[in-house]
Structure formats: structure tokens, C-alpha cells
């Protein structure tokens, strides 16, 4: 069997006075005429999916750079808590700038999963990139998240809890009682008036998507139909009439969940969708 000669280089680099760690994959074939780099935000996708992707893409002529944020993997520093309304925007911009200086690419594409996808999306207004791959990411703010989770709780469960002995404690615990009543009335309201709530998308998302549309930024969105945020994302994309825009591609694994990549099927789906999209979008095209 022909042995693939790999060209993989570990890279320590300094961002905000801390050393981050990444691995650079240099194409082991002729690079694309327009030097193109994919930046994978966060090295550790389950079962080495990120690594396999990097090796496959580098065999097609792409440069790939996978790295860890502060306090994660082999990077130094203290890890920041991941809060969906506080993505690591500035840190990622610094990383993109480093890669641009290191490689001087003609095209830079950013890939993020879950929270890292929010971070990737957040740099769009501030940083010139040429593509975005976003996997199964939260799209609503924290308050809306609670409401969406409440929808999943049956009204019967609330009633059932009131029957249990703990009600005696709850009657005297004002906060617990208030929370239970809010939950109960919220569900009752939804069921009685069948009201569709406003989506309460995170406040930056409309601006970010308007830039994606205006700049025709090639964007791949990957979700499973069973992912928690998928219905909300779908609703939002339909609101903005996304099918009108050829640069936005939504790929959905029907009947499956991409969150956590907890099975081989979801990993294979992600791998093949990304490779196909990268090939069709950046090889032999003017993008």
C-alpha cells in the first residue's frame, strides 16, 4: 500500500501573552492555485474527526490549522467558561491573524462546532474570511433556552410534582414555588393560546447573517434533525428565506443528532459533507 508522506507541523504561537498550541497540515500534493487554509477552532472533536478531516483536506491541496484555545488541550493559560453570549471573538481574530501572517493564504475558512461555531460566527463582522463551517451550534439566548426546555416538560409532570410530598416543602420555599408556577403557567399559556413565541435569537445573529448574505460568504451549516437547536435554526433560516442565497448551505442528517458526534454515523456524515463542500466550493472555482 502506498504510504502517504505526511507534512504535519506542531505549532506553538503567542496570543495575548499566552502560548497556544496547534498543528499545521501542509498539503502533500500540489497546493491549490489560490492558497487556502481551513482553521479548525478546537482540536478535540470526538474520535479524531478533526484530524481525519485535516489529513483528507491536505491530501486535496488545502492547508489546515487545528488549535486549542486557552487552557484547553496543549495550550497554556486558564480555561474560560464557555458562555454562549460571550464567545471568544478577539482570541479567534488573533489566531486568524497569526495564520494569515504565517501562511499568507488567499482564502481563509473557519470551522467551529457548538460553542466554537458561535465564536467562529462572531468574527464575521470584524475579520475578512472566505468561508464558514458551523456545526450544531446554539442559536438562542439563555432565556429563550429555558423556555424551549420548558416546552419539553409535559404539563402532567408539573401536576404530578404537586401531588408528591415535596409540595409541602415548596409551599414554604418561595423561590421554588415561584419557579414551578412560572413554568406551569408558561406551558398552560402555550397550550391554550397556541401562541408561537418570537424566536429570541441571540442578538448578534441577525447582523452576522446579514453580513454573510451581503458578502455572499460561503457558509455550510451542519445539523442533525434531532439536535436541540435544529427546529429553531430552521425556523430562523426560513424567516430570512435562506434558499434564495446560494452561498448558504444547510445539510441535515435526518433522524440523527450531530451534537457531541457520539456515533460513527454522525462523524461520517460530518466528514463527507465538509469534504464535499470544500471540494465543490474552493477547487476550480472563483470563490
Amino acid at each position: 500500500m502506498h504510504k502517504i508522506i505526511r507534512q504535519e507541523k506542531p505549532v506553538y504561537f503567542s496570543v495575548r501573552n499566552k502560548d497556544l498550541f496547534g498543528v499545521l497540515y501542509i498539503p502533500n500534493v500540489s497546493p491549490l492555485p489560490k492558497k487556502t487554509v481551513l482553521i479548525q477552532v478546537c482540536r478535540d472533536l470526538r474520535n479524531r474527526v478533526g484530524l481525519k478531516l485535516a489529513r483528507e483536506l491536505s491530501s486535496l491541496g488545502f492547508y489546515v490549522f487545528r488549535f486549542d484555545f486557552f487552557g484547553r488541550g496543549d495550550s497554556s493559560g486558564i480555561p474560560r467558561i464557555c458562555h454562549i453570549e460571550q464567545p471568544f471573538t478577539h482570541e479567534l481574530i488573533d489566531v486568524v491573524n497569526f495564520v494569515n501572517v504565517l501562511l499568507q493564504p488567499k482564502r481563509t475558512i473557519v470551522l467551529g462546532n457548538c460553542f466554537d461555531a458561535i465564536t467562529s460566527l462572531s468574527i464575521v463582522p470584524f475579520c475578512k474570511i472566505h468561508g464558514l463551517i458551523l456545526m450544531t451550534f446554539p442559536i438562542v439566548n439563555s432565556n429563550e433556552l429555558i423556555k424551549q426546555k420548558a416546552k419539553q416538560i409535559s404539563f402532567g409532570l408539573i401536576i404530578d410534582n404537586f401531588r408528591k410530598y415535596r409540595i409541602k416543602k415548596e409551599l414554604f420555599d418561595v423561590n421554588l414555588l415561584r419557579k414551578s408556577l412560572n413554568l406551569g403557567f408558561g406551558i398552560l399559556k402555550k397550550k391554550l393560546i397556541n401562541a408561537e413565541s418570537d424566536l429570541n435569537i441571540m442578538s448578534d445573529i441577525p447582523n452576522q447573517f446579514s453580513i454573510i448574505i451581503k458578502d455572499r460568504l460561503p457558509t455550510l451549516l451542519l445539523f442533525g434533525s434531532k439536535d436541540f437547536y435544529y427546529p429553531i435554526l430552521r425556523q430562523y433560516l426560513e424567516q430570512i428565506n435562506y434558499t434564495k442565497y446560494k452561498n448558504i448551505n444547510l445539510c441535515v442528517m435526518e433522524g440523527g443528532e450531530l451534537y457531541g458526534l457520539n456515533n460513527i454515523q454522525s462523524q461520517d456524515f460530518v466528514f463527507s459533507m465538509i469534504v464535499d463542500w470544500m471540494t465543490s466550493t474552493y477547487i476550480g472555482t472563483d470563490n
Binding site: 506542531p10 501542509i26 479524531r48 484547553r72 460553542f115
Partner: protein
């Protein structure tokens, strides 16, 4: 092209003046495959009175993701205390070459032996080895200590004593995960049959291959340790029902002429799913560094 590649070499290391250590990342070879490794070296050099290098043996499959950060923190703290450390990834794991079916118990032992040799070739002054293994890495460390006489010390963090039980635990975790997702219930026996008949099984997104299962199902470390007579530290890391087997392991390590210190910690760890921020433990790090100082730098006469 080689000129272009070599210009990236300058990024492959870093110096941390605050922590007084240097890190150097690279690839080395075993059986024709590139393995990824990092040296963590004290800036002030290793002590003259001890010349022990520390080689770290990784956990298996998803546990390596869970434990990655604590491994890095352990390595950095040891290097800060002037112990040279080598962390590496087995074939088919982490950043190394190879695929999942390459990962067998024998391949992990072979890779560790190769790592020891490489470490001693590259770093002057090392004449003995401490193997630090987490989970199945601990099992590998025990086996390697019997094959490599230069291994004088062992640190075993929640090692897998009975490997057959470990793989059944993995099957059980898949069953529970499927149940939690509302999927059709499946028995452990069905999963076992699927593994044997199909040659592999998807366990929480990792392919477990029949080879490693059949290779290890008869291994009980309590019965098979015969050759290691050095000093060891056994750490019970989590809330698990392993006290009895760890006691037996400890007795066996002492029977062969060595010493074995035992520490129980009750850390909350989800072995099969990484958390955010990643798991780390100051207590574990402190315990390991202190033990190394007491047993290597200032051994009791």
C-alpha cells in the same frame, strides 16, 4: 519543499520562563508510523542526583479526551519541579498516524517501549524511567515495566486491572446511552455478539475492535505481575467500586519486592464524555509531584 517545511520548525517548541520549562513537540517513528510526542524539560536541567525521566501512558479511546488536560498539567508541573517528561500518543490515537484497528494492547506496549528508547536517546543524562499511566495507560505501564528493566518507578492512576471487565463496562455505557436517547433497548450479550461477529463496535463514537477485546479478555494484572520490584504509587481517582481489585494489585506489587503507596481521591469524573472546562485536579497533580520528590529525589534509606 523541504525548505518550506523547515521554516515551520521554529514554532515546534516554546519556553515558559514563568514555569521554568521548555516544551518541544515532534513526531517520531515506530513500526514505520509517525507517533506524536512532546518533551517537557526543566529549563534549569534535571537534578544531578537523580536521572529519572518520566514517560506518560495515555488512557484508551474517549478517556484520552477526558484526561488530556490533566495529563498536560501533570507533565508541566513535573517539569517545573525538574523532572523531564515525555507525553506521546499511541499509533491510531491522538495526533499519531494509524487507524483505530491499529490500537491493540500489544501495539500500546510496543509504542511505549519505543518511546522510552527515543526519550533516552534524545535527552542526555536519563538512566532510569518512571512510567505514569492513567486508566488503561496504567495497565500498559505495568506490562512495560516487566519488559524494560530501566523502569524503576510506576505511578498508576486508576489503572484497569481486569481488562475484560473494562470492555464490558464500555458496552454497558453504550447500552445506557442508547436508553437515555429513547432508543430500543439492547442487551450486553447482543453488543458483545455484534463486536465478535462484525469485528468492531461503535461505542459512544469510538470503534472498539475485536482484536483488542480478545487480546485482553484473559488479562488480570493482579495475577500477571511478576517482574516489577520498584516503587509504585497507586491512585484511586474516582467514586468507583475498585477498592478490592486495587488492594489485590497493591499486594501483588509488594509481593514482588517493591513498595506501593496507595491514595484514594474522590474526584467527579465522567470517563466517557469530556466536560467544559476540561477535567483537571490540583490534588492529583500535587500528589504525583510530591511522591516523585519523596521517592526519587529524597528516597528513604
Amino acid at each position: 519543499m523541504s525548505n518550506i517545511l523547515s521554516e515551520f520548525d521554529k514554532y515546534a517548541s516554546r519556553i515558559d520562563h514563568g514555569q521554568k520549562l521548555q516544551e518541544r513537540a515532534f513526531f517520531f517513528q515506530n513500526k514505520g508510523e509517525n507517533l506524536f510526542g512532546i518533551f517537557y524539560l526543566p529549563l534549569e536541567g534535571i537534578f544531578e542526583k537523580h536521572k529519572t525521566g518520566i514517560v506518560m501512558c495515555q488512557p484508551f479511546a474517549m478517556e484520552s479526551m477526558v484526561m488530556q488536560r490533566v495529563e498536560v498539567d501533570i507533565a508541566r508541573n513535573l517539569a517545573k519541579n525538574r523532572f523531564p517528561v515525555f507525553r506521546f500518543h499511541y499509533r491510531g490515537c491522538g495526533e499519531s498516524e494509524g487507524v483505530s484497528r491499529d490500537v491493540t494492547f500489544s501495539s500500546q506496549i510496543s509504542d511505549t517501549l519505543c518511546a522510552i528508547k527515543y526519550f533516552m536517546d534524545q535527552i542526555d543524562g536519563i538512566d532510569s524511567i518512571l512510567l505514569l499511566g492513567l486508566r488503561m495507560g496504567g495497565s500498559v505501564a505495568i506490562k512495560v515495566s516487566e519488559l524494560e528493566p530501566l523502569v524503576k518507578y510506576l505511578i498508576l492512576c486508576e489503572p484497569v486491572v481486569k481488562l475484560k471487565n473494562y470492555f464490558y463496562e464500555l458496552l454497558r455505557s453504550k447500552k445506557i446511552f442508547l436508553l437515555s436517547k429513547g432508543e430500543k433497548s439492547v442487551s450486553i450479550e447482543q453488543l458483545h455478539s455484534e463486536l465478535i461477529n462484525n469485528g468492531k463496535l461503535d461505542v459512544l463514537g469510538y470503534l472498539v475492535h475485536k482484536e483488542i477485546f480478545t487480546e485482553t479478555e484473559s488479562i488480570d494484572l493482579c495475577e500477571s505481575i511478576k517482574g516489577f520490584s520498584g516503587n509504585s504509587l497507586l491512585v484511586e481517582l474516582s467514586f468507583s467500586n475498585v477498592k478490592i481489585s486495587f488492594q489485590s494489585l497493591r499486594e501483588q506489587l509488594m509481593k514482588t519486592g517493591g513498595t506501593c503507596d496507595y491514595i484514594a481521591m474522590k474526584e467527579h469524573i465522567h470517563w466517557f464524555f469530556s466536560q467544559s472546562p476540561e477535567f483537571t485536579s490540583k490534588r492529583l497533580i500535587h500528589t504525583i509531584v510530591s511522591w516523585c520528590k519523596e521517592n526519587i529525589l529524597y528516597p528513604a534509606k
